[in-house]
């Protein structure tokens, strides 16, 4: 199933500072996951996080596009779920009057149960459902 989920947040900090937190492995480790990320397009990197059961999940990623300090795109694959295909994560930064707006779009094909059940393709955003559900 194709999906596209968008998350947005405004931080009271300049674009350059937010960009650094997205591209410096030390800072990425503090908020996203421990990683060996390097800002080189085409290069693979790993991210590791606690799987909640005493083990470690590894994500295999690749830097697909980089336009400092505003745009970056990664492929994103949980090791062991290769049969499900890759997902992609896109980061966009935009100056606002009070700071920086960060938008993260996570897209791809994901859940096996849903892929089984679903044969077509459909783009949509989280907000549509939230609207429908009146949340």
């Amino acid at each position: 199933m194709k999906f596209e989920l968008e998350f947005e947040r405004v931080y009271p900090h300049p674009v350059e500072k937010v960009w650094k937190a997205l591209t410096d492995p030390r800072l990425l480790g503090k908020w996203l996951m421990e990683t060996d990320f390097a800002p080189v397009v085409g290069r693979e990197f790993n991210m590791w996080c606690d799987d909640g059961e005493g083990g470690t999940d590894r994500y295999i990623c690749k830097l697909l596009a980089l336009e400092p300090p505003r745009y970056m795109r990664w492929s994103w694959l949980l090791d062991g779920s290769q049969h499900l295909g890759e997902t992609e994560v896109t980061f966009r930064l935009e100056e606002t009057g009070t700071g920086t707006c960060l938008s993260i779009v996570h897209s791809g094909d994901r859940d096996p149960k849903i892929i089984e059940a679903f044969k077509g393709g459909w783009p949509w955003k989280m907000e549509i459902l939230d609207d429908l559900l009146g949340q």
């Binding site: 999906f3 998350f7 503090k30 559900l133």
Partner: protein, 104 residues
């Protein structure tokens, strides 16, 4: 259109999403629904059938009319799935805020 009765297939179409939204507010007849779209009665009925097959819509008869209403519980299946991603990114974005506040 295949014979899919899958909820995800059903909400793929923007017109069907709009129908769901309208019928979420209150139950309505096909005639009322048609008046909100630039579509034939047949096309509206067809969309309602897809939604109904996916369990997203329930209908009842009231006199000569058939009234349709969105079943929110079926939409919840989709919502719960997206919640996993939402929880992950929202919590990471919270942490990013803390990291930014703590950096010079």
């Amino acid at each position: 259109m295949g014979k899919s009765t899958d909820v995800f297939h059903a909400i793929a179409d923007p017109n069907r999403r709009r129908l769901l939204s309208l019928m979420m507010a209150r139950e309505q007849s096909v005639t009322e629904l048609k008046s909100r779209f630039d579509m034939t009665m047949g096309a509206v009925s067809q969309h309602l059938k897809v939604l109904s097959d996916a369990g997203l819509v329930e209908r009842r008869s009231a006199g000569k009319q058939r009234l349709y209403r969105t079943r929110a519980v079926a939409l919840k299946e989709v919502h719960d799935w997206t919640e996993q991603f939402s929880r992950f990114w929202q919590s990471r974005l919270d942490r990013l805020g803390d990291v930014l506040d703590g950096e010079p």
